[in-house]
């Protein structure tokens, strides 16, 4: 099994001997995780030859005396604050019969992890860390362990089968030796093969345990270094003066340029293209100058307005902006079945632009020594960012190459997707290159709110046909701008904001394909006739065909720049699917849980999840007097909420259910939500949320619960509260809530007094592959809440967010008494 892995290219410092196991992080391995039905954990085919080895498990002695056991893992996947670092360490320690304290973790350092050309491999995203990298690291650790066993057999002079291992120590009868001792001075490389034995799950002692997060204590003791905490000798501080809108261009220095420049501490104010930045010897002065004088440091020429926010629902469907369409799913003949259906339902759903809104504005530190541009970045993709930054600097120095850029991952506030981290890092890199020294770029709250790439608005046209209580036709046409504009090599280098400030154009809008806007657009329900149409909407024009095409600034945005936010299109698609499924259930006069289960026959784990959440929530099946005309004990709608005391006067309570299987073949989530609607004000309070969650083998139940809670709470926030507002070509929100003294317009998010009681059932399947949990539980939230509001009031709300204003308007339009 010893191979000639390309260890020499790595910059490992191996003092004595070592066992080095290479693993390929690739979509191929991800497929191992996907192939739940046919493969047991850890087995399966190996990556194709030629793929890049970019993960390494190195086992060595713990000290120069050659004793002890030390394990170092080099990985391009990064801890984003979700706890995967801890979970992955559990997997490695388990497979190596070692302890967590013997592990050292090196993540997201481009000196160790060669960049990948494949966009999907270099990012930590999409709930893929556990099910892709987890498998990959398990195999690498298992391969390393087999080498250690072989070395141990020689060391002790006994067959490997007579050896026992625990806590990084090998035992042969009464004799024992650390891994470092049996390795001695030897250097052995290993790579997993299809026959590498892995530990049977029945023997797991670390995987499956609620191991505390390895990173949290240092964060609670202020000993953790976030990117904003990186300090380099001689470092200066930069803040960026932003254009007045996405399409604005620099027109010259403004009235207060001179005054700002004369401020004590200000080193300089510079401009390249539309990129204007202030340099200061201290951060506070840079912040104050940009806050106080920013709008008058530079003058800008206004650019064209974006598509007006109010017209988004229609504009997203217009031929003018839809550039590609096809049917992603086409089973039977949905159109003719709909035409012939005795009962026909049609509805339009809409979700707005959302922002990631990390708790702190993005921050990055960069320095340049004349050869290497080192960037401390909170990026989700150190390798792709390295390539994109190299391309950016090439606009200043054609000889600059990827090897001249060293990206070192340094955690930022939780990102939930592609926030401002990459853009901020690239700005730091460019400034460091231009000033030939160390600089910190801290994005202000307004920078992050107004300039991070957003999650796009989406429209869904739903049509369903019923014959009796049977769905005879299901049609879903979804319209969406891109959910992926991450920077990377090639054309994707133009996705960096600062590259666009310098005149680069973004990568072309994506071709039709699954997994961005279309995530969970298809449903797992077995309908005889179903069709899912996907319609991709452009965000910008390059105007190359226009008579007034300006080659110097060809890019014109028609929508805010959009990209990946937790679950991509899955949140909006599932809102539409699960709300409309509820519409059909009520029209059919069938309990919504039973209705869903009836279309999931054969999908055992899906049914298990729905049954589990029904049990957890003490779901009482809805009783319909006749289809669509039942009566609940409390609400005006026919909702199943006969539990607890009646709501106070002027309030309605109701309960709704929602279900997804993530990406249609991974994690299962079934969710029930209970809401209280204040009829006079439209205020929705979420009383309880119940979640049944099946992601296969559970690596860390406490970390998993933490992620599910986070998804529930973010889901409530996105459903009830959040919405980006823009005017002209500029996002108007520059803070968390309106505050006139500071000229703040708010993008409010959920507060502590709005968080629901949450009960979670973790459905463990230790004999099955471990899937991700970073995203799945957010998908069902909007459907569950909307369905609960309908159950309470009889009113179906089909646009997010369900703010008091929007809910009250809907209640009044439906003449709900008390509204």
């Amino acid at each position: 099994m010893t191979t000639t892995a390309r260890v020499s290219r790595r910059k490992f410092l191996i003092g004595g001997g070592a066992v080095v196991a290479a693993a390929t992080l690739s979509a191929t391995l991800g497929e191992l995780g996907r192939a739940a039905a046919e493969s047991v954990v850890g087995s399966g085919s190996l990556p194709a030859a030629g793929e890049v080895d970019n993960q390494w498990v190195v086992v060595q002695a713990a000290n120069p005396h050659g004793t002890g056991t030390a394990i170092t893992v080099y990985t391009p996947k990064v801890e984003l604050g979700t706890g995967t670092e801890t979970a992955l360490q559990q997997i490695v320690a388990e497979e190596l019969y070692a302890t967590l304290t013997q592990l050292t973790w090196v993540q997201g350092d481009t000196d160790f992890d060669p960049p990948s050309d494949s966009a999907s491999e270099g990012y930590t995203a999409g709930s893929q860390t556990i099910y892709v990298e987890g498998v990959s690291l398990r195999l690498a650790a298992a391969a390393a362990f087999q080498e250690i066993l072989a070395l141990g057999a020689t060391y002790f002079g006994v067959p490997a089968s007579d050896l026992r291992a625990a806590n990084g120590v090998l035992y042969a009868g009464h004799r024992s030796a650390s891994y470092g001792q049996v390795i001695g001075g030897q250097v052995v490389t290993a790579a997993p093969t299809s026959t590498t034995p892995t530990k049977p799950y029945q023997q797991y002692t670390i995987v499956g345990q609620p191991v505390p997060r390895v990173d949290l204590p240092s964060k609670f003791f202020a000993q953790f270094t976030y990117s904003t905490d990186v300090r380099l000798p001689g470092m200066v501080y930069a803040r960026v003066v932003r254009p007045v809108g996405r399409n604005a261009t620099f027109a010259g220095w403004g009235a207060l340029y001179g005054l700002a420049l004369s401020y004590p501490g200000i080193i300089g104010i510079s401009q390249v293209g539309n990129f204007v930045y202030v340099l200061s010897s201290d951060e506070g002065t840079a912040a104050q100058v940009v806050t106080d004088f920013g709008s008058q440091i530079a003058d800008w020429t206004d650019g064209p307005a974006l598509i007006a926010e109010a017209s988004l629902p229609s504009a997203l469907q217009s031929d003018e902006y839809v550039y590609a369409s096809d049917d992603q799913v086409d089973v039977g003949n949905a159109a003719s079945a709909f035409a012939g259906a005795p009962v026909q339902l049609a509805a339009q759903y809409f979700t707005p632009f959302y922002m990631h809104g990390p708790m702190g504005g993005s921050a990055a530190v960069a320095t340049y020594d004349g050869t290497t541009l080192t960037v401390y970045s909170g990026t989700q993709g150190p390798g792709p960012l390295q390539a994109a930054i190299a391309a950016l600097i090439q606009t200043q120095d054609p000889g600059f190459g990827t090897d001249n850029v060293h990206v070192i991952y340094t955690e930022q506030p939780g990102c939930y997707g592609h926030d401002g981290a990459d853009d901020c890092s690239a700005e730091a890199a460019l400034i460091a290159y231009l000033i030939q020294g160390p600089v910190k770029v801290q994005w202000s709250r307004a920078d992050e709110h107004q300039w991070e790439p957003l999650s796009p608005a989406m429209v869904h046209l739903m049509q369903g046909g019923l014959d009796g209580d049977t769905v005879v036709s299901w049609q879903h046409d979804m319209y969406s701008p891109t959910h992926n504009s991450r920077p990377g090599a090639g054309a994707a280098a133009g996705n960096l904001l600062v590259s666009q400030y310098l005149g680069a154009t973004p990568a072309p809008m994506p071709q039709l394909g699954p997994n961005t806007a279309t995530r969970n657009a298809p449903v797992n329900y077995n309908f005889a006739n179903s069709r899912v149409g996907r319609h991709f909407v452009t965000s910008f024009t390059l105007q190359a065909d226009d008579a007034d095409f300006d080659a110097a600034s060809p890019l014109t945005w028609v929508l805010p720049r959009s990209t990946a936010l937790r679950s991509l299109g899955g949140f909006s698609n599932t809102f539409a699917n699960e709300s409309f499924m509820d519409e059909l259930a009520y029209a059919a006069g069938v309990d919504p849980v039973a209705f869903r289960i009836s279309y999931l026959q054969g999908n055992t784990r899906a049914i298990e999840a729905l049954a589990a959440v029904a049990l957890l929530a003490a779901w009482v099946p809805a009783q319909f007097e006749s289809p669509g005309a039942g009566a609940s004990p409390y609400g005006p709608g026919p909702g199943p909420y006969p539990l607890g005391p009646p709501p106070p006067a002027g309030h309605a309570v109701g309960r709704g259910v929602s279900f997804i299987q993530y990406e249609n073949d991974l994690t299962y989530v079934a969710t029930v939500a209970d809401v209280d609607v204040a009829l006079a004000t439209g205020v929705v309070s979420v009383l309880n949320v119940y979640v049944a969650h099946d992601c296969g083998l559970i690596i860390n139940p406490d970390g998993l619960e933490n992620q599910i809670q986070g998804n529930v709470i973010q889901g409530v926030s996105r459903t009830l509260i959040e919405q980006v507002n823009y005017v002209g070509d500029a996002v108007v929100q520059n803070g968390w809530y309106d505050y006139a003294p500071y000229y703040v317009t708010g993008y409010p998010v959920i507060q502590f007094d709005q968080v629901p009681n949450t009960r979670i059932a973790l459905l463990d399947h230790p004999d099955q592959p471990a899937w991700g949990a970073g995203e799945p539980a957010v998908l069902p939230m909007a459907g569950a809440l909307g369905n609960a509001i309908h159950a309470a009031t009889g009113v179906r709300i089909r646009s997010l967010p369900m703010t008091p204003t929007n809910v009250l308007a809907a209640l009044q339009a439906a003449n709900v008494p008390g509204a």
Partner: protein
């Protein structure tokens, strides 16, 4: 260059600043001059709580607190100074026990804010352990005017409330 004598995390220090009117905000000066990283930049406009410190025991937003508002001898406490892994503050111990964070960037705000909240409660002669609803009211800004909210974006709210309640039980 002007300066003010302060006690920061129990140490006598001199905080220096450039302006004639002390218009600099405390957050940046504390971080740069004393290498502190408990108070963090979150919004710069007093809306989120990431920069929370204790000024003479009361939680304040250091991102909008001007040096000019300080008096010589003022005591400043930051997350850096309240405990160590060996001797954690009860609030820190409770946050670890409850794993009350995800990215944990915001947790400085809830840890320091809650300590200030409990300090005030004790000063008011109320030694009853607050309910989670009372803690949520405080963290939602319902007890101050203008409201001072403590924002968590990852959704660790339930664990944070439980941790603070637990710590309060040990501190009160």
């Amino acid at each position: 260059m002007a300066s003010v004598a302060l006690v920061v995390n129990g140490q006598d220090v001199s905080l220096t600043y450039n302006s004639s009117d002390g218009s600099e905000f405390l957050l940046y000066l504390l971080r740069e001059q004393f290498s502190l990283q408990g108070p963090r930049f979150g919004c710069g406009i007093s809306e989120c709580g990431c920069c929370t410190i204790l000024l003479n025991g009361a939680p304040v937003r250091s991102c909008v607190t001007k040096v000019s508002t300080l008096d010589a001898g003022d005591e400043i406490t930051t997350l850096d100074g309240i405990g160590t892994p060996q001797r954690p503050h009860p609030m820190q111990a409770a946050f670890i026990e409850h794993q009350a964070g995800q990215c944990a960037y915001c947790c400085n705000s809830m840890i320091m804010g809650a300590i200030g909240f409990l300090n005030q409660r004790i000063a008011d002669g109320n030694r009853s352990v607050p309910t989670q609803a009372e803690i949520a009211d405080f963290l939602s800004g319902n007890t101050t005017d203008p409201p001072l909210e403590y924002i968590c974006r990852c959704g660790a709210h339930l664990r944070i409330l439980a941790a603070i309640e637990d710590a309060a039980g040990r501190m009160l």
